[in-house]
């Protein structure tokens, strides 16, 4: 049972990295544009992240060295510092994006205003990190993220074309009738690199040290890295298949998070919508926690400062201040006026009137 629960580090790491805000939308877009033709990038990316995670976990378990201590040793101070700044900027932006995604998902679940939910979710996540031990964070968000399986069940229920699916697993050179090769390449590179997000391995390697892994845990390290990543890959493939099955035939290019929920729950009812939204909430929260904590881990490991989620916050003040800062550095956007139908119709009429005056809108031709 303990070993089974140990897998949750890999599950949370992989779900937070594989099915975060950007990846959910981007992968469905890939399916909506190119059908199954980009499946091979997920296979390649998964193999890459398993090797990368296992390697970092091994160094953490055997040498007790986290990623950014190795970065400084191998790259030197200056180049290492550039890597640190770039990495933490990415963490900051990703954390802000995930928090925005959490606010959207909570809004779709509760109907409460997004701005309030954005601030409330940041406070709740910071409180949870402060209150819970590392192992419980990974268990809660890793296991809750499994609700995302509804997307895989939905993809299977909609009956994918398995011949095309198998063909999509072959790399670019074997893809017939490739349209828009530049756009295809963009999506191929994007899908592949999104699976190899640096914060995943920074979190995983630091987590291995937090959990006190030793040389005898190397077998578990491989199992955790492989199983977590394979689960993440299955869900990512399901998202791509849903894009191919639901959006491609209708010519829809999904570019908002809420549209993806529709595809993930199309064959089912209201309970599936709630399940999908809760799954998203867990994975986006996991990703926000990963990026937030990674910010603190990276900085402290690079400058050889005391760090550790399981240590009292007061004994690691710079670590705590950094990861808490990651959650609150980005300011929420100004509140838009709530859209009311009467206002919007009046707004449309004003726009028509302006367009009409500029000679571009033919009055009365609106449907």
């Amino acid at each position: 049972m303990k070993k089974l629960l140990g897998i949750t580090l890999g599950v949370m790491t992989a779900l937070g990295g594989f099915v975060d805000l950007g990846q959910i939308v981007f992968t469905m877009q890939a399916g909506a544009l190119f059908g199954y033709q980009l499946l091979w990038t997920i296979v390649l990316g998964t193999a890459g992240i398993i090797v990368y995670m296992e390697m970092c976990g091994r160094i953490a378990a055997v040498a007790r060295q986290p990623v950014f201590a190795v970065v400084r040793t191998c790259l030197g101070f200056r180049l290492g510092l550039v890597t640190l700044v770039a990495s933490n900027l990415l963490n900051l932006l990703t954390c802000a994006a995930e928090l925005g995604g959490i606010a959207i998902v909570l809004h779709l679940l509760t109907g409460l205003p997004e701005r309030f939910l954005l601030i409330a979710s940041a406070i709740v996540l910071v409180s949870l990190i402060l209150l819970l031990r590392f192992q419980w964070i990974e268990r809660i968000f890793g296991l809750a993220g499994l609700m995302m399986i509804i997307f895989a069940v939905s993809a299977l229920t909609l009956r994918p074309n398995w011949n095309e699916f198998a063909h999509g697993l072959l790399p670019i050179a074997f893809q017939p009738d490739l349209k828009q090769p530049v756009l295809y390449s963009y999506f191929a590179v994007g899908s592949f690199s999104a699976l190899l997000m640096a914060y995943e391995v920074h979190f995983y390697s630091s987590g291995a040290i937090e959990e006190g892994w030793k040389s005898k845990d190397l077998g578990e390290n491989f199992m955790v890295a492989a199983l977590g990543s394979v689960l993440g890959a299955v869900l990512t493939m399901a998202l791509l298949v849903l894009g191919a099955l639901v959006f491609l035939p209708k010519g829809i290019f999904p570019d908002i998070l809420s549209t993806t929920v529709e595809a993930g729950t199309l064959p089912f009812g209201r309970k599936a919508v709630i399940l999908a939204l809760c799954g998203m909430l867990a994975t986006l929260s996991g990703a926000a926690i990963e990026t937030g904590l990674s910010g603190g881990y990276n900085l402290c490991q690079f400058f050889h400062l005391a760090w550790g989620k399981n240590r009292p916050a007061k004994s690691v003040p710079k670590f705590t201040a950094t990861w808490v800062g990651m959650f609150f550095l980005m300011r929420p956007p100004r509140q838009k006026r709530p859209s009311r139908a009467c206002e919007t119709v009046a707004g449309v009429e004003r726009a028509q009137s302006r367009a009409s005056r500029s000679g571009l809108y033919v009055s009365g031709s609106s449907t």
Binding site: K250, I252, F253, P254, L266, V273, V348, A351, T367
Partner: protein
């Protein structure tokens, strides 16, 4: 940097921003085609969503939230149309696009307040389908 110098820099930056906001934005045929395709996609998405709601698959909060997000997508597009100036020869496609996207925004506004009314939703779906056809015709003009 002195306060005076800083304020001068701010004034210059602000002037550039204001000038940029007030001028027309030239749009070539490829960009217009891309905008029309986005509008066609939005129309198709609206029809899929209406179908989804009519089948009773959505929760109340999800339907309201998603309807607003789609509406905001259309609003972003209509917000910029006044500034767009098409290439010579693309004016008729541009007019069709503006007509389509404004009509779509109007239907999305109606949809937001009709989520509980299947009859109104059916009317919106029909009109959106007509808008989609017009946009497809506009795309073929380019």
């Amino acid at each position: 940097m002195s306060v005076h110098r800083l304020s001068s820099v701010l004034v210059v930056v602000l002037s550039f921003v204001l000038v940029d906001c007030s001028t027309e934005k030239k749009i070539n045929s490829d960009e217009l085609r891309s905008k029309i395709k986005s509008a066609i996609s939005l129309a198709a998405e609206t029809q899929l969503f209406i179908d989804y709601v009519q089948q009773g698959r959505s929760t109340r909060h999800y339907a309201e939230g998603h309807a607003r997000y789609i509406y905001e997508e259309a609003s972003e597009a209509t917000g910029e149309v006044r500034r767009l100036k098409p290439d010579a020869g693309a004016e008729s496609a541009m007019i069709e696009y503006i007509t389509g996207i404004i009509g779509l925004q109007r239907q999305l506004a109606t949809m937001q307040v009709s989520l509980d009314n299947p009859d109104n939703l059916a009317v919106v779906a029909k009109k959106v389908s007509e808008i989609q056809s017009r946009l497809q015709s506009a795309n073929s003009l380019l």
